[in-house]
Assembly symmetry: C2
Homo-oligomer: 347 residues x 2
């Protein structure tokens, strides 16, 4: 089959690789129907996250089951399924608690020896624990399929941030980051009943999406000016619930600066850089909490899926460029240069 | 009256100062019956926290009301009262939410222009919002009076840490720090139903108190060895709820290292030092939350008071040296040199 392989920073190729096969009785092999490129894939692309030459890449996909191992009970050939960005056994203590990302048998798509989502097919370990079945009819609904793909990562990650930030009905929420996760954080906050949602972002195309997702205010400033603007919008106090969806020192500093005393930062931006951006003295004096991390999206899919199917929420607008598998290198370039927000792949 | 005054690092004196008087109609003047020295007072004593020469010091006290301003409705001459370590108006949005430490009209005892607790008398601003009445009979019960004094700070601060750490019935809890706050954290965790409480500390006198307060295990190691020991005690996983009651970079690093994936660190150690001790990448990968800060103990007193009065909990053993007001400089020296855990003052 053809799949995306990363050879070196900025050297992403679509090439022939061995077809996946059932290796464990709990495996499923599926054909990829939709995949996409994640902002976090760019860290590998830019060389800021180490990869061995030849690793696969891509961790968000929807597919159709081609073959199920003999111990797989929940899926059969022909099933339409969505995969979360981490596989997990579904049976351990962590999975039982919903923290599927800490499953000792879990792993990331594209890690050494495993398939990535940006290819024609994927071997899925622990299929019963990992995959979630979708209605077959969705396969013929292009818009819906795109929306459902967001369940793989960005929608569940935005939801995790909103939960970490403590969003409740009536909350005032601020969202740092106008990427796909930040926008999904806006959507998740709205879904959880936030009354006021302040989106921080400079790109009007993106902040326009934020508004359609539920943002009531947009702050285009950065750094200290952004802090001042959010404080002005909130009577000087800041937002009780703050979503941090970037992961840089500066974005975290902004998040701390705009959080109301006693509030929480729900952080889902993958941390990179040497500093944390956290001023612990400020957080201490003001009782600001920090909750979040890698999102256990598998746990959230059953909760979010009905709303996506019903159309109550529609994250599909975060995908603004659609390409075929052969064009994946072009897709990376577009996201790296920020000419695309999030790239949809139809293999 | 006589009161404790800090003139410079290591220069603490008990001297004559003006008698406090009612300055605002919401003030109370009270005579101090019991006060004490806090671990955080040592930062001023050691010059690690800046003070202007001549500032008063001490922020924990029980007293008897001598005079109440005309707008004070809750207290009258002769009432026995306990003061939390921050005064607060009791009427603002933050006080209504229970975050009394963020009250815009609030302040710390011993700040410039205000009395400190380590003296014969104190002017209490916003008495109705700040003070809590105690049963008059407690004044003649020496052991009970000492236990009640812990409501001023250490017991409520330990409780805040336990809440921040998410202690629930059945929790496994680890407590970093064997000072009075750490020990009260053990007590608070036990009170909230923790099943297993691992106290980290090297001083046997203190860890013996931890055991009487509810600790089921003691870890005497520090740093990496402490992390390994707690992990071994918890089947490799770490504790779901971790109380950080020191405030150094090393103690925070230990706290992160012993927290179970998906768990929380309740931090109440006043942060000092240049680094945070937080490895955000580790916290992100393992979904470790950080919650806490300066404890709004005023909010917790009504909840904790009945248990102290009933003797269900008795924090009085954290006070292991009793002195008169004139001996306060000796008390600081004893705590600085760690020959005393916490010093009780009978003015």
């Amino acid at each position: 089959m053809r799949a995306t392989v990363i050879h070196a920073p900025h050297d992403i190729r679509v090439q022939e690789v061995p077809d996946p096969t059932i290796q464990q009785p709990t495996d499923v092999v599926l054909r990829v129907l939709r995949a996409c490129i994640c902002g976090s894939d760019l860290w590998a692309y830019r060389g800021e996250a180490a990869r061995q030459p030849g690793q696969r890449i891509g961790h968000e996909f929807i597919g159709i089951v081609e073959e199920a191992g003999p111990e797989v009970s929940g899926f059969a050939r022909g099933d339409l399924v969505v995969a979360p960005f981490v596989w997990s056994d579904g049976t351990c203590e962590y999975c039982a608690e919903g923290l599927t990302t800490s499953c000792p048998q879990g792993g990331f798509w594209g890690s050494v020896g495993s398939d990535g989502g940006q290819g024609e097919a994927v071997r899925v370990p622990f299929a019963d624990g990992t995959l979630v079945k979708l209605p077959a009819a969705a396969a013929s609904d292009d818009r819906l399929l795109t929306a459902l793909l967001a369940l793989s990562d960005v929608l569940g990650t935005g939801h995790h941030a909103a939960i970490g930030a403590g969003v409740k009905p009536g909350s005032t929420v601020a969202v740092v980051g106008d990427g796909a996760v930040g926008l999904c954080g806006v959507m998740a906050a709205k879904r959880l009943g936030a009354e006021r949602i302040i989106a921080l972002g400079r790109h009007q195309v993106r902040t326009d999406i934020a508004r359609t997702f539920g943002a009531t205010d947009v702050v285009a400033e950065r750094g200290e000016a952004a802090v001042a603007a959010v404080r002005e919008l909130t009577g000087g106090a800041g937002a009780h619930a703050v979503i941090e969806a970037v992961g840089t020192e500066e974005s975290m500093r902004t998040a701390v600066g705009i959080t109301r005393d006693g509030g929480s930062i729900g952080y889902v931006g993958v941390p990179h850089g040497s500093g944390t951006g956290l001023d612990l003295s400020v957080m201490f004096d003001r009782n600001i909490a920090l909750r979040g991390g890698v999102a256990p999206v598998r746990t959230y899919i059953p909760e979010l899926l009905p709303d996506v199917l019903a159309g109550t929420i529609d994250p599909s607008p975060v995908f603004d460029l659609t390409i075929g598998l052969n064009e994946v290198p072009v897709g990376y370039k577009a996201m790296d240069q920020r000419t695309a927000l999030k790239v949809l792949i139809k293999p």
